[in-house]
C-alpha cells in the first residue's frame, strides 16, 4: 500500500453517503472524551470540585487520550479528503497551533509539576505552576473547539455548495 492508495481509500469512504457525517460524529465523540477528562482535570487544578483528589481524577485521562486519538484519525480523514479546504484556512491553522501549545504545555506539566500535584490532598489546590498549566490547557482546548467550529466560515468559496463537508 502506498500513500496514494490510502488517500484514495479514505476519499472513497468519506464521499460515500454517510461517510463524512459518521466521521464527524466520531470526531465530536472523541472531543467530548478528551475535553471531559482533561478539561475537568484542569478545572480541578484550578480549584473546582476540590473534594475529588487529583490522582483519582487523573486515572480517567486515558479515556481522554483514546478520545484524542479518535479525533486525530477522523480529523486526518477530513484533511486527506478535501485538503484545500483546510491547509490555507486560518481557523484550521490556528486550531493546529493551539493543539501544539496544548501538547507542549502537557509535556512541561508532566516534567515539572505532575509530582507536586500527586501530593495535593483532597480539598487542596496544587502549587501555582500546576494551576497555570491547567489554565493554559483549558484555554487551549476551548480555543481548539472554537476554531474547529468556525473552520467552515473560513474555507475557500469553492466549498460553500458542499453542506456535507
Amino acid at each position: 500500500m502506498n500513500a496514494d492508495s490510502i488517500v484514495a481509500g479514505i476519499h472513497a469512504v468519506m464521499t460515500a453517503r454517510w461517510g463524512w457525517p459518521i466521521a464527524e460524529c466520531f470526531h465530536f465523540i472523541g472531543l467530548c472524551l478528551l475535553f471531559g477528562t482533561v478539561g475537568f482535570f484542569d478545572l480541578r487544578m484550578l480549584g473546582v470540585a476540590r473534594g475529588i483528589d487529583l490522582r483519582s481524577l487523573h486515572r480517567l485521562v486515558p479515556f481522554g487520550i483514546a478520545g484524542f486519538a479518535t479525533s486525530v484519525v477522523t480529523g486526518l480523514m477530513f484533511v486527506a479528503t478535501t485538503p484545500d479546504q483546510y491547509l490555507h484556512n486560518p481557523a484550521f491553522l490556528t486550531k493546529l497551533s493551539l493543539m501544539l501549545v496544548a501538547g507542549l504545555n502537557m509535556v512541561l506539566f508532566y516534567a515539572i509539576s505532575a509530582r507536586t500535584v500527586w501530593l495535593a490532598q483532597p480539598g487542596e489546590l496544587p502549587p501555582m505552576p500546576a494551576r497555570i498549566f491547567g489554565a493554559v490547557s483549558l484555554l487551549c482546548w476551548l480555543g481548539v473547539i472554537t476554531c474547529g467550529r468556525v473552520i467552515t466560515a473560513f474555507r475557500p468559496p469553492a466549498y460553500y455548495w458542499c453542506p456535507w463537508c
Binding site: 463524512w20 457525517p21 464527524e24 460524529c25 466520531f26 465530536f28 465523540i29 472531543l31 467530548c32 472524551l33 475535553f35 471531559g36 477528562t37 478539561g39 475537568f40 478545572l43 473546582v48 470540585a49 476540590r50 473534594g51 475529588i52 483528589d53 483519582s56 481524577l57 486515572r59 480517567l60 486515558p62 479515556f63 483532597p122 476551548l142 473547539i145 472554537t146 474547529g148 467550529r149 468556525v150 466560515a153 453542506p163 456535507w164
Partner: protein, 152 residues
C-alpha cells in the same frame, strides 16, 4: 405547522440569526462551549460510575454539577438562537427529537448515579455515557439529516 414556522422565521431574532454575518457562528461557538462543559461533566461522572480508574467517592463528583449547569446556561440560549433561525429544519427532523431524548435521559441517569447510597450500577453508568455521546452525535447529524431548511 408551516404557518407557525413561517411566523417564527419572521421574528427579528430569527432574521438576525440567519442573516447577520456573525450571529449564527457566534451562537455555534457558545453552543459548543456549553455542550463541552455539560457533556464533559456528564462523561466524567459516567466514567467514574462505571468504576473506571478513579477511586474518589462518587458523591464528591456532585461538585461538577455547577459546572454542568454553567454549560446548560451557555448551550440553551445559544441553541435557541440556532433554533429560531431555522425552526422548520429542526422540528421536521426526528434526529432533533432523538438528540433531546438522549440528553434528557443522560441527565436523569446522572441524577440517579449521584443519588446518595444508590447501589453502584455499572450498566446504568455505561448507558449514561452512551446517551451523552449519542446526544452529541445526534446534534452533529442535524447538519446532515434535515430535509426542510425554511418554509417562507
Amino acid at each position: 405547522m408551516d404557518s407557525i414556522f413561517a411566523n417564527i422565521e419572521h421574528w427579528s431574532l430569527s432574521v438576525w440569526s440567519r442573516e447577520d454575518e456573525y450571529a449564527y457562528f457566534v451562537a455555534l461557538i457558545f453552543h459548543a462551549w456549553g455542550m463541552a462543559l455539560l457533556v464533559g461533566g456528564g462523561v466524567v461522572i459516567s466514567l467514574r460510575a462505571t468504576g473506571a480508574g478513579a477511586s474518589a467517592p462518587l458523591a464528591k463528583f456532585r461538585a461538577l454539577l455547577p459546572v454542568m449547569r454553567v454549560g446548560v446556561l451557555l448551550a440553551v440560549p445559544s441553541g435557541l438562537v440556532l433554533l429560531v433561525a431555522y425552526p422548520a429544519k429542526a422540528f421536521t427532523n426526528p434526529v432533533f427529537a432523538i438528540k433531546f431524548a438522549c440528553l434528557i435521559g443522560a441527565a436523569l441517569l446522572v441524577r440517579r448515579l449521584l443519588r446518595e447510597g444508590a447501589p453502584a450500577a455499572r450498566a446504568t453508568a455505561a448507558l449514561c455515557l452512551l446517551l451523552w455521546l449519542a446526544g452529541v452525535a445526534a446534534g452533529k447529524l442535524l447538519l446532515h439529516t434535515y430535509h426542510v431548511l425554511t418554509v417562507s
